[in-house]
Amino acid sequence: MQAQGRKRKGRFRRELPLVVMLLPAVVLVAIYSYGSMVGIVIAFQKFKPANGFFGSPWVGLENFRNLFTMPTIGQVIYNTVVISLSKMIGGIVVPVLFALLLNEVGSVFLKRAYQTMVYLPHFLSWVILAGIFTDILSRDGIVNLMIKALGAQPVGFLSNQRIFPVTMIVTDIWKGFGFGSVIYLAALTGIDQNLYEAAEIDGAGRLQQTIHVTLPGILSTIVLMTVLSLANILNGGFDQIYNLYTPAVYATGDILDTFVFRLGINNAQFALSTAAGLFKSIVSLVFIVMSYWLADRFAGYRVF
């Protein structure tokens, strides 16, 4: 009895420092993450900032009714899904292809050099990239000069409603594919080299080796990354679009996050904006939980 008591006391003494270590992070997360979750209540209020989260009159679902009767909301959701789905697909396919091509490079030095160059855009902010793109993609920017030199009509990459989403998708893939390939390159180095020798003895050529050895070898990684990317279904890419769009392309380029931002920060429609944000958070939550469940089921991946 006494021995057990001492053991329990020893355990408590041993675990207490762990709790102390966690404390600062717990406090900050409680305030800024959980505090803002509590703040979601303003989506159900006629909210006045000066009254705090619980001092404004409740209005039930009125903000949501107003939100979903706004004429542009359907288009905004549609734009968000189209842009984010295209980015998700491109964000898987292009890095995989790039990793496969890079894997054929024998020289370590060249491989490093290629990697360094393609990683660069990933580490720069959309502010700087937007500054560069508005310059080179403008009517008489360097890209259109080249297009004109080839005898074609200049393209309104950022001003034409129909082309703007394509520009967003392509530039987003451009920014991310290099760094996105890191995980596939790692998976490629993990493939058992004996498999290639066996395939060669069986008479398989390079292409057949790629199809029958390399691809199956990285398939689980591809599945994992695909499943995890599902969580981004409503993430159209705020930083990119906010810095590149103009009212002329709102019809095809406005996404939920930019919509929420204009509503909340520019127009001070706090409650309405929170309602739109809550809608996004709930849909995203469903997709994230689903994607983690699928990832666990099919790739044995767990977050913790």
């Binding site: 703040g39 091509l101 290629y114 904006s273």
Partner: protein, 299 residues
């Protein structure tokens, strides 16, 4: 494995090198163009003659900027928020990852605390509620608004935690038997072997703070409190803004006016803002795979 390459293989390899070189160029040429514009004179730039090599080489745009308070103030704020922010990020990341890397047998509350943090990945309050919390905690317009709301980077913390869990258990046991407490174990035994993953998450934290513009825009009321990227955002949205302001205020900058324009000074400012990143990420490249991949896919 080695054998004489067939003709088809040689053709493939040549095409592959050409393709990869093109891809790599597409990734860097926009920045070469930016650099070339920043060193060119304004007439060549206005006539769209500058592609990848400066025309009328001069450094007036850089002198113009470095003589201007606006850019330097913003740079100073960014340096401060980055140093402070990364230090806090890292400290909290390490102090959180270590307890959570314990098994539930060693640390009974582990599961509860893990969920406490993971929930914030799954769900968040969104823009306005977060903004209101920052307002109610009275850190608006101070550097803390740029540091505290994102102080706990849960995703990076999980990467570090998973890395710690993959370390051989004997390490901690040996330290325990030698009588080391948790702090000693963490700082003298665990952290030294976590170098690859710490290098990666430090880079991410650094890049995150350096590149952050959004928080500056919504939490800072006046332009002179903007960090560098927020300030740059104002000139991206309105390219003439900086240049017009700068020439309005100061006469000593007048001597540059026949060489520089809004486009050259903006290019120079953006390039200067890229330099720290250019100097750091290539050297940490070798850690990406070990630090990132081993961390996220559980063994």
């Amino acid at each position: 494995m080695k054998r004489k390459a067939s003709r088809g293989r040689v053709v493939f390899l040549v095409c592959n090198y050409i393709l990869l070189t093109l891809i790599a160029l597409i990734c860097v040429l926009p920045f070469v163009n930016l650099l070339a514009i920043s060193f060119s004179n304004k007439t060549a730039v206005a006539a769209n003659q500058v592609s990848f090599w400066p025309i009328g080489f001069n450094v007036a745009a850089y002198e113009f900027i470095l003589n201007n308070r606006q850019f330097l103030t913003a740079l100073g704020i960014t340096v401060r928020r980055t140093v402070l922010g990364v230090a806090i990020n890292l400290a909290l990341m390490v102090l959180t990852a270590y307890p959570l890397s314990k098994s539930p047998q060693e640390f009974r509350l582990r599961t509860v605390f893990s969920w406490f943090f993971v929930v914030t990945i799954l769900f968040n309050g969104g823009l306005i509620p977060t903004y209101m919390v920052v307002k109610y905690t009275h850190i608006m317009n101070t550097i803390w608004a740029l540091v505290l709301p994102g102080a706990v980077q849960v995703f990076n913390m999980l990467v570090v935690m998973n890395y710690m869990r993959c370390l051989p258990h004997e390490l901690q046991e040996a330290a325990y038997i030698d009588g080391a407490g948790h702090y000693k174990t963490l700082f003298q035994v665990i952290l030294p072997v976590c170098k690859p993953t710490l290098a990666t998450v430090t880079l991410f934290a650094f890049v995150g703070h350096w590149n952050s513009w959004y928080d500056g825009m919504i939490y800072m009321n006046t332009v002179d409190k903007y960090p560098l990227q927020t300030y740059l955002q104002t000139i991206v949205i309105n390219p003439e803004a900086f240049f017009r302001n700068a020439t309005n205020i100061s006469e000593e900058l007048g001597k540059f006016l026949n060489l520089v324009s809004a486009r050259t000074t903006n290019a120079a400012q953006m390039f200067l803002a890229m330099i720290p990143i250019l100097c750091i990420y290539p050297f940490l490249q070798k850690y990406f795979t070990t630090g990132l991949v081993m961390g996220s896919v559980k063994g």
